[in-house]
């Protein structure tokens, strides 16, 4: 049982769970915070139309009296997207035929073994 860190998303996981079950990590989609960081770094994660809509929503002024559960319209808009992480890792096995040796779907940027 080894503890790994995914070099693509930074997620930490054990490759074998305490009961012996194999665990197959797959990187999560970009979060709202990560989407904003990608957009700020001018990485093309949204289409021009989507970017224009985000800019329009971000331009909406914050209410003078802000409700306790206020969420910026731009964040609400970004939360609707499930943008795949660039170079995502997916350790789930590719579809198999017959007795072929299993391979993972995507290696991504690999892993760092934290605890062998």
């Amino acid at each position: 049982m080894a503890t790994m860190r995914c070099n693509t998303c930074g997620g930490v996981y054990d490759d074998v769970l305490p009961d012996g079950l194999l665990y197959f990590h797959a990187c999560p989609p970009l979060s709202v915070a990560e989407l904003r960081a990608a957009i700020a770094a001018k990485r093309a994660v949204l289409t021009p139309a989507q970017l224009a809509e985000l800019q329009r929503l971000d331009a909406i002024a914050v209410p003078v009296v802000t409700p306790e559960n206020y969420v910026a319209p731009g964040d609400v808009y970004l939360a609707r997207f499930a943008v795949a992480r660039p170079n995502a890792r997916d350790e789930n096995l590719a579809a198999l035929k017959g007795d072929e040796k299993p391979t993972i779907k995507a290696a991504g940027a690999g892993v760092t073994v934290l605890t062998p």
Binding site: G10, L17, A26, S31, N69, A79
Partner: protein, 281 residues
């Protein structure tokens, strides 16, 4: 071939035996058994035990070992058999402790012993466990998604700060999500975070359940979405609950969170999932 038993009795012993066949399963010299498994449990070893009547009337037992893979992928073993009638067979667990829902076995008669063999007849299929062997005749053909699955507790990936939770149903599995629980530690950044549980098929959203309460700066909240749980107004915002949809999720489906206003320094902990799993080939 004698037409009647009377004729056969006047003839040789083998002719009598051919009329009085002890089993409907006659194995030619180039027929063999193939044991195929799809397994998720660790440390499993199976034994295929069988008995046969040879043309000379001798009854012989035999046993062969099969070690499944542990990643739900297909593993096959050819069990060589002599010419004769197969009286019966059983698949038993020789090592490991697979539970029902973890080790699915199919036993077939195939023609050939290596390479591209020709499957001819399926004898038995079903899950095997330490308490429950498979037998032919007897067990019959059971599909892998029949009956209750195995209950698993799965620790998911602990995401990096600023990232969401996401758990993908593994290849070869079908899940029913019974519950998921995880802690979100909000940083000091002022924002109103609201957590939504999302179920999708890898692309399209199938369900989206918002917990309905906000988490503010510097709060640590345990979120739990589970079957039969109703969303309740929290009296103390240390634990929030929401319902989980009673969906069957195929391989590649995802269970993930969307946290509006998630800050780059907010940190989700590793989720703990309770799932019911079946093997799907």
């Amino acid at each position: 071939m004698p037409d009647t038993i009377e004729q056969a009795l006047l003839g040789d012993v083998d002719a009598v035996k051919m009329l009085l066949t002890p089993s409907s399963v006659f194995m030619r010299v180039d027929d063999n058994l193939r044991v195929t498994t799809f397994n998720s449990a660790a440390g499993v070893r199976l034994e295929a035990r069988w008995r046969a009547v040879l043309p000379n009337g001798a009854i012989i037992p035999s046993g062969d070992v099969h070690t499944p893979n542990t990643d739900r992928s297909l593993k096959s073993t050819i069990v060589l058999t002599p010419e004769g009638w197969l009286l019966g067979l059983e698949i038993v667990v020789a090592a490991g402790t697979p539970r029902i829902g973890q080790c699915f076995v199919v036993v077939e008669i195939v023609r050939g012993s290596s390479g591209a063999v020709t499957p001819l007849q399926t004898l038995v299929s079903g899950y095997v466990s330490t308490l429950q062997p498979l037998g032919f005749p007897g067990t019959g053909l059971r599909p892998s998604n029949e009956g209750p699955g195995v209950i698993l507790s799965v620790t998911g990936t602990n995401p990096a700060a600023g990232a969401e939770l996401s758990q993908t149903v593994p290849t070869g599995a079908r899940w029913r999500l019974r519950g998921i629980s995880a802690v979100l530690v909000a940083s000091a950044a002022v924002a109103s975070r609201e957590v939504t549980l999302v179920i999708d098929d890898g692309t399209l959203v199938l369900a989206q359940i918002a917990v309905g309460s906000a988490q503010v700066a510097s709060q640590t909240v345990q979120y739990t979405f589970a079957l039969g749980v109703q969303r309740i107004a929290p009296s103390a915002t240390l634990a929030l609950f929401g319902p989980a949809p009673d969906y069957l999720l195929e391989a590649g489906y995802r269970i993930r969170t969307i946290t509006t206003a998630l800050q780059g320094t907010d940190d989700w902990g590793a989720p703990q999932l309770s799932v019911e799993e079946w093997i799907t080939g």
